[in-house]
Amino acid sequence: MERLHWVQHRCRQLLAGDSERGWYSAPNGLPNKNFLDRHSSPQRVSGKRRTVFARHGPHQQEYEAASKKYKGNAIRTTKYSLLTFLPMNLFQQFHRAANLYFLFLALLNWVPVVEAFQKEITMIPLVVVLTVIAIKDALEDYRRYLFDKKVNNNVVRVFCSKQKTYVQKCWKDVQVGDFVRLSSNEIIPADLLLLYSSDPRGVCYIETSNLDGETNLKQRQVVSDLPFQGAELTLENFRSRIECENPNNDLSRFRGYMEHPNGVRVGLHNSNLLLRSCTIRNTETVVGIVVYAGHETKAMMNNSGPRYKRSQLEKRLNTDVLWCVVLLIVMCLTAAVGHGLWMKNLKDPIFQVDGETSPALAGFYVFWTMIIVLQVLIPISLYVSIEIVKLGQIYFIHNDLALYNEQLDSRIQCRALNITEDLGQIQYLFSDKTGTLTENKMVFRRCSIFGVEYPHEENARRLEVYEAEKTEAGGRSVTLKSGCSGKSLSCRSLSCNRSSVSLHTLTDEAEEEEEDQLTNHIQRKTSAFCSRVAREVVPDPMLVRKLNWLRSPVLTLSDGSSGTPSSLELTYITDFFLALAMCNSVVVSSPSQPRHQVPEARTPLKSLEEIKLMFQRFSFSPFSTLSPPQIRGSPHSFTSRLFARGKTGSFTFPTPPDNTTGRSEPGLEDQLETSKLDSLSRAEGKDAGGMEEREDGTTENTKMSPDERDYDDELLYEAESPDEAALVHAAQAYRCTLRGRSAESLLVDLPGIGSLVVQLLHILPFDSNRKRMSVVIRHPLSGQVVVYTKGADSVIMDLTETPKGADHAQEIYGHIREQTQKHLDSYARDGLRTLCIAKKVLEEEEYEVWLKRQLLAESSIENREELLLESAQRLETHLTLLGTTGILDRLQEEVPETIEALQRAGIKVWVLTGDKKETAINIAYACKLLRPNDQLLTASCGSKEACAALLQQLRLEVQHGEDSLTTGAGNHGKSSSDCGTGFVLVTDGCTLDWALQEDLKNDFVVLSCKCKAVICCRSTPLQKSQVVQLIRDQLGVMALAVGDGANDVSMIQVADVGIGISGQEGMQAVMSSDFAVSRFKHLRKLLLVHGRWCYSRLANMILYFIYKNVMYVNLLFWYQFFCGFSGSVMTNSWVLIFFNLLFTSVPPLIYGVLDRDTPADTLMELPELYQDTQSSKVYIPSMFWFTVLDAFYQSLVCFFVPYFAYAGSDVGDLSFGSPINASALLIILLHQVIESHTLTWIHVLVLVFSSSFYFGFVLLFSVICVTCSPPTNPLGVETLQMSQPLFYIVCALTTVTALLPRLLFRALHNTLHSSAALKSAQMDKEDSERYRRRMQCWNLKHSPANRVPVCVDNPDLEPNSASVMS
């Protein structure tokens, strides 16, 4: 979890009483020396730590000593400088094998005895490649240099000791230990420790979007207990020593302590650290001391380069390249032996030039000469070409409109540039659920408190209405801001889900009615409605009525009549909503309020006392610690007494009590006024739409007094997870509004009571191990220390327990538990996310004991996390269950269609989720992963042995099921693969743990292979990645993982292709992914169309490339048989080199980028076609050999037709080569025309350009090259040749003969094969649809009851409850 949770810590020291001036103004004498003596040694010894002193502070020497090795803030991301560019770049480039090969050839050509061409000619490929790459590198580096320069020269105000003030300095001049002063909206230049904030509460807000793309504000806290706060800064006297970790790249962790001269240590945490490149928001001024600078900042250390993955295809390619090497060696050996024999038979003839060399040695020389001559056989340039082609493919993927999300205005991000073709070979897809399949837009749906269910029917209706609105609005193409959009709703997809009928009670007709009714409002609402879906919850009338009792002036406390809640229940309800409002890390802001500040409290006295009374009388837990007199009095005296009471304990508040109370009186008046205005504006404002009407018509809650609803709507909640926001909004709907938050307190509105300042003692943030979070607060009404915990039901249910005490209470509690569990199950069945809310009241002593340990944990540097976890676990026990909430997370649009298409494409879809089993199963139903006639295999067991047995049993069951299916299918006259039934394995986290162990994993893999889909629920991030790894490695398949959250990161990284959904949960998944899309449905086109295209394009291009090289090189080889294997060529050497480098290099690239073997529409409609590339039918070894064989044939034709045409004539060597070259070019280009599936004007242009380039070049060359290019001077050759009809006669015959077999093959193949595939796929589709329809009818007739999952009732108790569905 890399979430930037802010950890609140308060370390109270007695010294704090000195308020303004603090300890550092104490006369420097004794403490200073002591401090030095005591601490100078450990700081040097510990290599793991970094010690920071103020640069201009009193400890100059220490500063010099400690900071010498720390990097400055100047950054340099360039690789080269002007001087080092050439050597460095060359050095880098020669790390590539391809360039080494070229270099080797070039050097080889400098050896006189093996020299094949002019010396400079073999340098050309090398020089061209090196130059191209060097230019590219230089440009990139220059851009980086400019950027660095810009960043380094940014100006920031840094404290200067001489002038005793802040002076402007460039970022690059900032050093560790400098004090930096920043204002709002400034970017943080280095990692700073926050020492001062203009905010009275010592907080500051930062936006980390530069770092991780999250736009919500994060709160940072001044190092606790610094006396700067609120006072003038006197930094030259800053004497504290900061000890912290060495630079690391963990954004979410910072540990250390600050040691004051008097030896007091203050723990430093992540919440004290301002990270470089984040932006200060909503805070006027902050001051921090630089702890990490430049390249040592966390932001820079996280800056890793682009991802490099080697694709499957490239691995295959390497073996083929090896075959090419073998081929080359064989050819060269042939030439060597041939030359040796030829030499041996010569008896010093007149044309013999070098008669002294022995034949064997001459043969050896020829071997190397031939390697130079035949060098293109090894398709080294193929690697460069592949990279270029992939860039082109990426360009088109990036530009696809179908992968563009209009609402978010975001395209697909291609982060890995070299695995495009892997998209075409995916066999397993591992998907996260929340945020990937679903919207991750949490909407409060229903809740259960005190064992009573509040179904929120009206809420359900509202959600439906919004869906209808959305559909309508979508038609009008409304532009939505990114913050509130991205929620195109799929009501259709959800209404397919039979098991969640209760959720969607509205039929289509009803929806239409709603639409008609709503069309008037849509126009007005479009700007705001989107956020309202999440924000506005229609309260349940029943619950509202009960809450109204709370605010009614007269409490009928002992009344047991119907409709009146018992006061115990009321307490529960109040606590429940308090917990919803407070147990979170939501940051509150409002557009009108620039700064996050807690508005002052005002507490209407009227009903307060009664409430207190009620709380005291009827709480089952000991409420007696607070005596009534303490809460009597004026509002501010109440709060102050609360605060004062706190003071008597072991801690104090940083905000002076008089501060609050002093300002509260005018604030009260102000707010009374504003509330009036608010209510007025509200009445005529945007909410005058249908919402209001409905509320009026159905519930009585709109009769609430206007001052209670005042400026709720202006509050903006910025939550770390959507669940939190949903809950806070839900609480707000019940007038239990979180109004503001500071480090030490929360401002909460309570219905009937008004605003309360709640003292916030601790937040124990959420983590995935505990699966819960807690807040420790001082209860505003009772004054007790209360822990509110919110978390996954499985955890909370275990931690809650029946309170000791009266039988009656126990009975009630048992009942609540039972009922709540029932509701939980039903929520889960409806596909809702459930959270349990619990509370615990702490005795003061108990709290103090815990507090001590907690403080210890917070201030420790070593294994702080473990200690904190332990501490949290100690606190979160003996909880009292309050209730549970059900949050709706809708499916994204087109998810069922996408999953169906992927499954038809032969991709096995697994869902790995942390959710409950029931929720997961329901989502699986909703997204058609699970079909009504599928057999559900549930695996959940408690021990390894049970797990082994279970796996065995399930396998048998599958076996049996398959047998029966085959026999059953036999009756139907169908094979089992045709029918839509299959097995779906559902396993939970524990079982997965066992199944992933060494001795069971094979069983698990075998079992899962037989299943159509697998759903792993309750799985941890680690398990997710383990599952992916297991399947990937054991089955050797291509795996794709898709997820949106930080918990999917490991899975995404392990998979062959990782896809991040850029959604609600930050950017971690995106940052670690290869591709990032915004919706799940984009996968369909990405895989089925782009994946297939990329794969087939690349595979075809590689084959074509190899063909091209083999074909051309063999022409030279055949000539050796007629020139005594001497390594001479019949072509001008420039033409020879350029043939590959220029004349025929672009067509394959175009082929690789633009070819479309099947139209996109067909691929989308017939996902079955994906299986062609999935099983890599295009690029199989036989295809390679087939291609090489064809190349051999063509080269034979291309050489021997001219040979026989010119045999015995007076043809010169270059004249002989001229028709061969020309026809080779024509053959190669036309071969591509035959092989291309599509030809566009670009293809035509490139082909025409290539050929005219060739002919133009050779003609021009043969005119102007008088004495150049010896020994193959081309003067007059081509002009003469091309003026003779024989040239064209030969070229025509050669070209046609060479291409004839390929043409015939392609024609037959296209006529027979491809149409057959298309037809059969179409037939399959029709068949399976017909079959599915019949099966559905059959199911409806025979087993209507079985459609609900059987296993949900008591899944955990039966270790091997393999329930069979359908």
């Binding site: 019949m1130 599509t1238 020994p1271 193959t1272 024989l1286 006669i1289 027979l1312």
Partner: protein
């Protein structure tokens, strides 16, 4: 609308190009293109083939081997290399008129003018008349760069050194009288070679340019005395030298020696008896080579070549056959599915 477009800054362009929807021709998918295509190609090829075949048939070739390996051969005596200036006579007759213009070739077989080291061994700069390279020939000429005394060889290199030096005279025997057939030695080399590539040094007297140089080792006379009959045909622009310097592509080759275009023989060689007088100098036996003389007339397609005509006919017929096969396949697999 304007505002909306502004906000969607990231929206990809909706063009046929970026959306990969360019109108495209799907080649070869239909047999409807293939079958007529094959038929057309086939017919065209058969037509060309017939034309080529007929043309080739009309070309007359007369080939006379004079290597002298066989003892019966009149040149057998000359195979002994000790005999200098050996001349042998080869008699032959022509049955019917050998249509002119007749090209007179000499042919060598098993002669590897195309081997790499041989082909490299010349100095193009020297041959273009650069006097500097007269003094110091390019090192590509090795081992024929300097002679044993260290004097530069001009023209240097193996190609020049190995220049063919047999000479021929053709006589028609009319009523027992030998009547020499006039040879035309002009314009047998490439125009570009004669006019551009090879140049004599621009000195008034050609011989002076060769001061301080030696002739190639195998040559009987220096380059400026190659043609004693025509002073203009000497040095590097000697036609025979130019023809020789154009290296043959294949080990069995012929090179144009003279054309018979003048006088009585402009229309061709009439039927009758002829005698070929050969100054036998060039050694070929040490690489099992053969020397021959070829008389041939030429057509628009060059010399006699039966291969091309037959190949065109074969490929053309193959195309026709294939189109029929395709038609059968197409009928069998395609038609039933269309209803």
């Amino acid at each position: 609308m304007v505002k909306q477009e502004k906000e969607l800054a990231n929206r990809p362009d909706n063009t046929a190009y970026t959306q990969q929807r360019l109108p495209a021709w799907q080649p070869m998918l239909s047999a409807g293109i293939i079958i007529p295509g094959f038929v057309i190609i086939g017919l065209a090829f058969i037509g060309i083939g017939v034309a080529l075949f007929v043309t080739s048939q009309s070309i007359q070739v007369l080939e006379l081997d004079y290597t002298g390996v066989e003892q019966t051969s009149p040149c057998f005596k000359c195979t002994d290399q000790t005999i200098k200036n050996c001349v042998c006579k080869l008699d032959f007759n022509i049955d019917k008129l050998f249509e002119g213009p007749v090209f007179f070739y000499y042919g060598l077989s098993n002669y590897f003018q195309n081997q790499r080291k041989y082909g490299v061994s010349k100095d193009d700069t020297q041959l273009s008349g650069d006097l500097d390279n007269f003094k110091t020939p390019s090192d590509t000429c090795l081992p024929y760069r300097y002679d044993s005394q260290g004097k530069p060889i001009v023209p240097c290199g193996a190609i020049a050194n190995s220049m063919f030096n047999d000479t021929f005279k053709l006589f028609q025997i009319v009523k027992g009288v030998r009547k020499q057939v006039p040879f035309d030695g002009k314009g047998i080399a490439w125009w570009t070679d004669y006019n551009i590539k090879y140049r004599n040094p621009s000195v008034p007297v050609l011989k002076n340019a060769f001061n301080g140089t030696v002739k190639p080792i195998s040559w009987p006379r220096p380059a400026y005395e190659l043609d004693t009959s025509d002073p203009a045909n000497n040095g590097f622009i000697n036609q025979d030298f130019l023809v020789w310097m154009r290296r043959a592509a294949l080990p069995d080759f012929r090179k144009l020696y003279r054309r018979i275009t003048d006088g009585d023989y402009a229309k061709g060689l009439p039927a009758g008896n002829y005698s070929l007088e050969i100054a036998y100098n060039y050694p070929v036996l040490d690489f099992d080579g053969r020397k021959k003389v070829l008389l041939s007339n030429v057509s628009w397609m060059g010399g006699k070549n039966e291969f091309l005509g037959i190949a065109y006919l074969v490929i053309g017929s193959l195309c026709i056959v294939m189109s029929i096969v395709m038609l059968i396949v197409y009928a069998k697999f395609k038609f039933p599915e269309e209803d």
